[in-house]
């Protein structure tokens, strides 16, 4: 089986632009990136499904000329799932906008607090190690 260069270039372009967008902090861009990657994956499934052929209907196309129907079913399923999750993600983004007037990936406050804490200011400091007790 020889690889189709058009598919390969297309997949590479979709993946790379998708990854670039996902790395952004803006949620809309992240969503666009996710959608691009998902399309890249779908094209990949199509690319590995073998050479193109006639519609896989018995009586219409001889068996040898049929294209493989299974990958197309897989792609359909993947598209539907991605659609559902993408709409949920959009709803979350909108919710974030309503709550904070922001649509960025926000920092976890507790994470920042743990990262910047010196030690718990408390009487039983021996539980937390000796640094800074002097």
């Amino acid at each position: 089986m020889s690889a189709n260069a058009v598919y390969l270039v297309l997949i590479a372009a979709l993946f790379s632009t998708g990854v670039y967008l996902v790395l952004d902090r803006s949620l809309t861009r992240v969503l666009l990136g996710v959608l691009l990657i998902s399309n890249g994956v779908n094209v990949l499934i199509l690319a590995v499904s073998g050479p193109a052929g006639g519609p896989p209907i018995v009586g219409v196309t001889p068996f040898e000329d049929m294209s493989d129907p299974l990958p197309q079913a897989l792609i359909l399923t993947a598209i539907v799932i991605t659609l559902g999750v993408a709409s949920f993600f959009l709803a979350l983004t909108y919710r974030s906008w309503v709550l904070d007037s922001r649509e960025d990936v926000l920092d976890d406050d507790e994470d920042v607090r743990v990262a910047t804490q010196q030690r718990l200011e408390d009487s039983d400091s021996d539980v937390y190690g000796q640094e800074g007790t002097g």
């Binding site: 996902v22 996710v34 499934i45 897989l74 993947a78 799932i81 709550l99 976890d108 039983d124």
Partner: protein
């Protein structure tokens, strides 16, 4: 018999979810539907466990399509063991959630959405455990993930939306890896039936196998939260509602671990990722435990121990020996139960004291002795204190590592001991601060009169709940379930009285069903210690089957032929 029971763990919760959705305006009926569905799933799972353990693996071709065209459902010892443990946990958490819902009513949590979503989550988990088809495994994952997105962001508060966004994006990325893996598997073997893949993968060149193998491992590694793919977990889990965090922590990562076990023992028997997995296991254990030590919030601390203990399971899988896999299986069962129990107890702590921050807690051992005991026992279990089940699991894994004798295996043994100590240190820190320390030493003292006030307000419902619980059957988990069923039938939800103005923060009362669920799950973890013998035997037989993938292959392909 097995083939009749096989689709039920998937079908019952799905049908139940539909019914529960229709009954959205009738909370009592909805609770009843959920409880009945999950009890039925648990009964089916136990029946499957007994049957499969006696008769060996069995499979069902859905719709009688021939193998390779249709989807196979397969019950071998591994999948039914996982199914039974997960059914126990989901039922226990549901009882807790029902108890919480009765008190909270509509406040903060739209309960009418909770039940259908929770049942869909259960169906997804069951499907993932039972399927014999790689793409169906993907669908199972997506079903449970989609449900988990909704559960994690239930109520749509700012903190949950923030956590939910990270969680959704990370899960999506891992699903894309999985899809790419599926595409590559289909390209190399021309099938997605796991038994057929297992046979045909042997003829694929080793370099190609390695690539496909790695892609799938990355996908499952994200889901199982293996370092360095674990950063999303402590970030997203702690913000969710207590029962949601409990079931996520117990189950979802273990579905990833289950998929890794299948990948290693069934799909890729030639190409070995031993070294990669061993190194990842060591790093996961140590980094997770160190993260836990640094935390000052109990929920976050437990999330880090969750990541850390995934390392033990990966260690056992990576060893690849029969004893290693058996140890990993026992540890999975132990850890699902223990982690869920701990998160439920922490949910009770949060209700009792109004916080899970170690800055604000104190003196709980004096004011809430039963709660302290409920925390202490599973916490020590998690740390691996003998004779509890955590010790048994860790000991058999370390033994398997010593038997292996390689330098990396010894490194894993060392990391396992170190992690056990660090975990013990982390939970001891929680114990010292939140429970043992005298209440007057803590910086902030929540008003005790406040607690009494709220208890009085909820007091109206106490008699109903009390009579309900005393009618129960013997066995703590059963009793809790029975109690909650009756409770669900007789108690009027607080929502009707309109308590929407009450603040989320601060102490709130806990219902008997919540106590029952937490107590029940802690008892199950103790029962696991007592019943370690039979469970170890099942795990050993399961591992023995796993080291010989032909058992699975024959069960699927030959049974499929007979049916077709």
């Amino acid at each position: 018999m097995v083939s009749v029971l096989l689709p039920l763990p998937v079908l019952i919760p799905l049908v139940g979810a539909g019914v529960a959705l229709v009954l959205g305006r009738r909370p009592k009926a909805q609770r009843l539907v959920s409880l009945v569905s999950l009890t039925a799933v648990l009964a089916t799972a136990v029946a499957l466990l007994v049957l499969v353990d006696r008769e060996g693996p069995s499979s069902l071709e859905v719709g009688r399509w021939p193998v390779g065209i249709g989807i196979s459902l397969v019950a071998d010892r591994l999948s039914v063991l996982m199914l039974t443990v997960s059914a126990t946990v989901t039922l226990g958490v549901l009882v807790y959630a029902v108890g919480e819902g009765i008190i909270d009513g509509a406040r903060g949590t739209p309960v009418s959405i909770f039940h259908p979503t929770y049942l869909v989550l259960t169906a997804g988990v069951s499907n993932a455990f039972l399927t014999g088809d790689l793409f169906n495994l993907y669908v199972g994952f997506e079903v449970l993930l989609a449900a988990s997105y909704v559960l994690l962001t239930l109520g749509g508060t700012a903190a949950r939306v923030r956590a939910g966004i990270t969680y959704v994006v990370v899960s999506l990325i891992s699903s894309f890896f999985f899809l790419v893996g599926i595409a590559l598997v289909y390209a190399t073997t021309g099938t997605l039936n796991m038994a057929q893949i297992s046979v045909r993968m042997a003829e694929v060149p080793l370099e190609v196998q390695t690539v496909v193998h790695l892609v799938l491992l990355i996908a499952f590694g994200i889901k199982a939260a293996i370092f360095p793919l674990s950063a999303w977990l402590p970030d997203s889990y702690p913000t969710a509602a207590a029962p949601v965090t409990a079931v996520f922590a117990g189950l979802l990562t273990k579905v990833g671990v289950y998929a890794i076990i299948r990948t290693e023992t069934l799909l890729f028997t030639d190409s070995s990722m031993r070294t990669v997995l061993l190194v990842a296991a060591v790093l996961t254990m140590v980094v997770g435990a160190l993260g836990a030590v640094a935390q000052s919030d109990i929920k976050r601390l437990l999330s880090f121990t969750l990541v850390s203990h995934i390392g033990y399971m990966v260690f056992g899988i990576a060893l690849g020996s029969q004893q290693g896999v058996a140890g990993a299986l026992f540890y999975v069962a132990h850890h699902i139960l223990i982690q869920t129990a701990l998160f439920l107890v922490v949910g009770l702590v949060e209700r009792r004291a109004g916080s899970t921050s170690l800055y604000r807690l104190g003196g709980l051992a004096a004011t809430a002795p039963l709660l302290s005991l409920l925390f202490f026992v599973p916490a020590m279990n998690l740390g691996g204190i003998p004779p509890l089940s955590g010790f048994i699991g860790k000991a058999s894994l370390l033994q398997a590592g010593v038997q292996d004798g390689g330098p990396l295996a010894w490194l894993g043994v060392g990391a396992g001991v170190l992690t056990s100590l660090l975990t013990l240190y982390a939970v001891a820190k929680v114990w010292n601060r939140a429970f043992w320390r005298p209440a007057d030493e803590k910086p902030v003292v929540p008003g005790d009169t406040d607690v009494v006030d709220r208890l009085d307000r909820a007091g109206a419902h106490e008699p109903d709940v009390a009579t309900a619980v005393t009618i129960g059957t013997p066995g703590a988990a059963d009793r809790a379930a029975a109690g909650a069923t009756i409770t669900a039938a007789v108690t009027t939800p607080v929502a009707d009285e309109g308590d929407a103005s009450a603040p989320q923060e601060g102490p709130q009362p806990a219902s008997r069903a919540m106590w029952g669920a937490a107590l029940g799950l802690v008892s199950v973890t103790l029962a696991l210690t007592v019943a370690a013998g039979p469970i170890t035997r099942v795990a050993a037989t399961a591992a023995e089957n796993l080291t010989r993938p032909e058992v699975y292959v024959v069960a699927v392909l030959v049974t499929g032929e007979e049916q077709g």
